[in-house]
């Protein structure tokens, strides 16, 4: 089934046992995003280091499809405890992959399990699912930084 390009094992695994799910306190910034096509939602919280350069803690809570749930879980694994610089690189790489229609060599160092999401790029209707958590995280970071 061609579909297994999109729903790779590792995605289904993250979907069934999401890592890092559940909102945590304290946090410096929070963002709530809705996917307009389906109404699904995510809230992301970020606690930055005092110099604002590291993500000390990222947490989230969300409802949505397997792709959006897995994407949030993978993002958590990839960026929790990393520098903002790393976050931005990963986030840019992920966005580029999603807009590539599948024509892309994803960098595993930047994406971790996220490379498994390349199949999603071939289903335009689902790209927003994969991006939802990343976009919310970006917003949460901006807000956390605004508080500094």
């Amino acid at each position: 089934m061609q579909l297994s390009n999109m729903y790779q094992e590792v995605i289904l695994d993250h979907y069934k046992t999401p890592r890092g799910k559940g909102l945590q306190s304290p946090f410096g910034g929070e963002a709530h995003h809705v996917n307009p096509t389906c109404g699904d939602e995510i809230t992301v919280r970020v606690l930055l280091s005092d110099d604002g350069k590291f993500i000390k803690k990222i947490s989230y809570d969300s409802t949505g499809c397997s792709i959006s749930q897995a994407s949030a879980s993978i993002m958590f694994e990839q960026v929790d405890g990393k520098s903002l610089d790393d976050f931005n690189k990963s986030s840019d790489e992920f966005l580029a992959m999603m807009q590539s229609k599948g024509n892309f060599e994803p960098n595993e160092d930047l994406l971790g399990d996220g490379i498994s999401m390349i199949g999603v790029a071939q289903y335009p209707a689902r790209i927003k699912c994969a991006l939802l958590s990343w976009m919310a995280a970006k917003d949460a970071i901006i807000r956390a930084n605004g508080d500094k």
Partner: protein
């Protein structure tokens, strides 16, 4: 022309051959199993041909030209009107062509805004169309957005107040609440004939009586009923009904409004411009009678002619036969879904009279994932809120999976859906 509508068994395999799209392959060289007719129906070759024939042989300015082609085009346009009007048992003058049901419902709602504002500045309009702050409009909680948002908008512009018949947790209209909701303040009652989410059919007689008992206008969103069962306007007790051509084998771009002569007479124009005027000077214009009063601009004539062909096609099959066939499919579907562990059906599940639109959930799975896996098997179902957000809120879900049928679906399509659902569970390892 009309089939005798006995309990004959339709030759669905033969009907399928009339629909070119059904022979195409979809993902993975799968046969297309189209179960989204509640959104839009497929088109038989006769409808496509009727449109082509219009463009290839008579295309010209309908109602505007005096030459040969214009005569033919005008005739074809008005012949289509006669055919479609007869289909719901009204006179041709009672049938207004719009672009879709949404425009038809907006036409109704704007009549009240326009009448209300025109009196303010001295025009004479029928008093029944004037809304004052505090006047009430009654809809239900299971309306499609097309029969909800226009009324909300009207309230925002007139100070009228929107009330709604609530739905039960099962998503059915709670008729017991009507009495307390309706009063002499109620000026408009607008309700859908059949839910596009649950397939449930409204007790129009009950609602219509309540509306008439307080002198309110009674409007019906017939989008999901006219395509699927015999509908006789004169028996509905309504002032107007709205529906779309594209859901009944017709082309996109054409909607319908059927109304009483009296309502058509008193409603001021909605969209204004050419072809709907009697006289125009820079100072003042006067308008023609319905239906042209509501058909400003160059009409979608090829689409009307295509829809006329669609109606003739349906009449040959017979609407009672269409309905019987769909009830048969619905029973197969509902019974089949009930037999799959982990499936929740929303809406009526017993053998009551209902449409073939069935919403359901696969427990633990998101509708978009369900839809995606079904799509991979060539099965087209709809996932989402189906433009009926308030029902979702009541069901406490973001979205549902919905399968809906038409005359080109057969038992094997339902079988494919049921097997597909098993496959979805297997795919996600939730079973």
């Amino acid at each position: 022309m009309t089939n005798t509508d006995s309990k004959i068994k339709l030759d669905i395999k033969k009907i399928q051959l009339d629909f070119p799209i059904l022979s195409r392959e979809v993902r993975n060289h799968r046969k297309l199993i189209y179960l989204d007719s509640a959104a839009t129906s497929q088109k038989p070759q006769v409808v496509i041909d009727a449109q082509n024939n219009f463009y290839e042989t008579i295309n010209s300015g309908v109602h505007r030209g005096a030459y040969y082609l214009a005569e033919l085009a005008t005739d074809a346009h008005e012949h289509a009107r006669e055919t479609i009007a007869a289909f719901v048992n009204i006179k041709p003058e009672q049938l207004v062509f719009t672009k879709n049901a949404t425009e038809s419902l907006n036409l109704l709602s704007y009549s009240f805004l326009n009448a209300t504002m025109k009196t303010k500045f001295g025009s004479v309009v029928d008093k029944r169309l004037i809304l004052n702050p505090g006047d009430e409009i009654l809809v239900s909680e299971l309306e499609h957005h097309a029969n909800l948002v226009p009324w909300q908008e009207l309230c925002l512009k007139t100070g009228a107040v929107l009330k709604w018949i609530p739905i039960t947790d099962q998503g059915l209209l709670d008729y017991s609440k009507i009495e307390s909701l309706i009063s002499p303040k109620t000026k408009i009652v607008s309700i859908s004939h059949m839910s596009n989410v649950l397939g449930s059919i409204t007790d129009l007689e009950l609602v219509g009586k309540a509306a008439k008992s307080v002198g309110a206008f009674f409007f019906i969103d017939a989008c999901q009923s006219v395509p699927h069962m015999p509908v006789d306007f004169s028996k509905l007790g309504a002032d107007a009904i709205a529906w779309s051509g594209h859901k009944m084998l017709g082309p996109l771009g054409i909607g319908l409004l059927a109304a009483t002569d009296e309502l058509l007479e008193i409603m001021p124009p909605f969209i204004s411009g050419g072809s709907m005027i009697e006289t125009v000077s820079m100072q003042k214009s006067t308008f023609t009678k319905a239906p042209k009063k509501f058909e400003a601009g160059t009409p979608p004539a090829a689409e009307a002619v295509g829809l006329g062909a669609a109606v003739e096609y349906l009449q040959k099959i017979g609407m009672q036969n269409v309905h019987n066939h769909e009830r048969h499919l619905t029973k197969l579907m509902v019974d089949g879904l009930k037999n799959i562990e982990g499936v929740t059906i929303y809406g009526p599940t017993d053998d009551q009279d209902r449409g073939s639109t069935v919403s359901f959930a696969l427990n633990g799975l998101h509708p978009h994932d369900v839809g995606q896996v079904l799509d991979d098997m060539g099965i087209a179902v709809r996932v989402g809120n189906h433009c009926a957000r308030p029902i979702m809120d009541k069901l406490k879900v973001q979205s549902t999976t919905r399968a809906s049928t038409y005359i080109y679906n057969d038992d094997s399509d339902i079988q494919a859906l049921l097997e597909g659902i098993d496959e979805v569970f297997r795919f996600f390892g939730t079973k």
